[in-house]
Amino acid sequence: MAEHAHAVLAGADERDLTKISEYRAVGGYATLEKARGMSREAVIEEISNASLRGRGGAGFPMGRKLSLVQPPEAAGKPTYVVANADESEPGSFKDREIMSRVPHRFLEGCLIAAHAIGSKHVFVYIRGEYLAEFDVLKAAADEARDAGVLGDVTLVIHRGAGAYICGEETALLDSLEGKRGQPRPRPPFPPVAGLYDAPTLINNVQTLANVPLIIDLGAAEYSKIGPEASPGTVVYSLSGNVQRPGNYELPLGTTLRELIYDVGGGIPNGRQLKAIIPGGSSVPVFTPDQIDTPADFDSIQKAGSFLGSAAIIVVDDRACMVQLALRAEKFYMHESCGKCTPCREGTRWMVNLLEKIESGEAGHADLNLLRNVCDRVEGRSLCALGDFAVWPVRSYIDKYRDEFEAHLDGAGCPYGGESSVDGVMAPVDLHRHLPLTEVPA
């Protein structure tokens, strides 16, 4: 049975931690005082020693990121902390829970991070759809400001307006600067030239919410939670065909079986498990025989996928994998920012070919072409969205090839309209101006 462990969400079941008085009652903001009494280097060293890996998707060590940010006196200009609260990976809804239940812990993490890099400016970029969460966070920020907790740090909560790509850090920075949210070529990376061309630390909400605990406990104690290579807890977001979907904070390394069956209560309606998407819709799919994989960064990667944002989507045997791939790809087509060609054009090709396969009008050449388009898009775009658009489709083809082939040469969908995702509409269907031309064989 998965071991219950609360770190980021600790105390939120017992108290209303959205109130500063309640948060203070459990020791809140005392850690910030402690950190402010430490040198910048000492704070960074503690976070580095805790081996805290980013919880936003890429798993980059936060300590290393911190040490790359030039201090303002060396940069000769103000530097910035940006919290990435643009959570929009399909399957992921953890930052929302953190912001609405422990907003002060998250803000405390932002302020400790600001101290660590000597910054006086914190920006929180929250996705525009999260209105209820914005309200909670804003109220918490006002309380913190009134209580004098911010000190001489300015805190701005910036609302997005509906664009998946703004979760990508450089697109987020462009968006925050008042432009279309399109990724920047790198280098330079944000720690060198980020917001307003100044050194910038950019981290995910959950990553920052871990910081107070690390400073409070010390790296040695903190590292005892979860596996050695990536200590700490993670808030797993469980969704899809599972009895008890929801957010569950557990030690990193909880197995997929424990998550789906013990925590999630298994597959409803007596159906069979067909596929597991272990890290949000962009990552390669797992088949049921991979269910004993521990859900931590290294184990999932060794098994051929990514933990991503720890968003686990459970798929039962009623879903047609071609339809599922098509729905995923329509998302990436819609969200491709259009800046670079492989992603902008590749996603359209993939959608068109998947539609042709689903309709039964495709042959083996089309399936091979689709597989080929995947290989030609991967690794060739400015940001990871191009890869994200490839990984679901290519992994569905490779792992469920029989099902794709069963659609070909006039056969059509073997589910005959009975798939759980049959005919699902996507926003892109509402305004797709490009004609669906014949794809050359």
Binding site: G178, I277, S420, A426
Partner: protein, 155 residues
């Protein structure tokens, strides 16, 4: 300067560069203009922040939450991304479609309700997610739809 422009300038104050307030400005303008951004709204935002209308339009057209065409008094959005799709989002779309007598992407003839599908709203564990005038209703089942539409029509 109009009152809206004063408010937009005030929203720009916390930023080192006022251009950063273009998103807030568009949101405020959209609210003022009845839920969408006609060309004159874009000009108003541009003037307030010393930007060109073309730049403001380039931003407005990039993000899903800015409406460049009129919408109904109420907007019903159904998430149909994977997690919602797996637990019956399309049936919810169909139920709204039938109850309102319109297709996704359309507005009812009386101008009351716009229906559309959206990408992942981040409510995957409480699926299917419906967003009613920016507030989440999680989960929403097809059998809930009649009551929701009735409320919107009376509201």
């Amino acid at each position: 300067m109009s009152q809206l422009q004063d408010e937009i300038r005030a929203a720009a104050e916390p930023y080192p560069d006022k251009k950063s307030a273009v998103m807030s400005g568009l949101r405020m303008a959209q609210h003022q203009y009845g839920g969408w951004l006609p060309p004159e709204a874009l000009v108003e935002v541009a003037e307030a922040l010393d930007l060109t209308p073309a730049h403001v339009q380039s931003v407005a057209s990039f993000y899903d939450m800015y409406n460049l065409a009129p919408v109904g008094e109420h907007v019903v959005e159904v998430c149909t991304n994977i997690s919602c799709a797996l637990v019956g989002a399309q049936q919810v779309v169909d139920a709204f479609s039938e109850e309102l007598g319109i297709e996704p992407g359309e507005t009812s003839e009386d101008g009351k309700v716009t229906l559309r599908t959206i990408e992942c709203a981040g409510g995957c564990g409480y699926a299917p997610v419906v967003v009613l005038d920016h507030r989440y209703r999680e989960p929403t089942r097809p059998e809930d739809v009649r009551g929701i539409v009735e409320e919107l029509r009376n509201g």
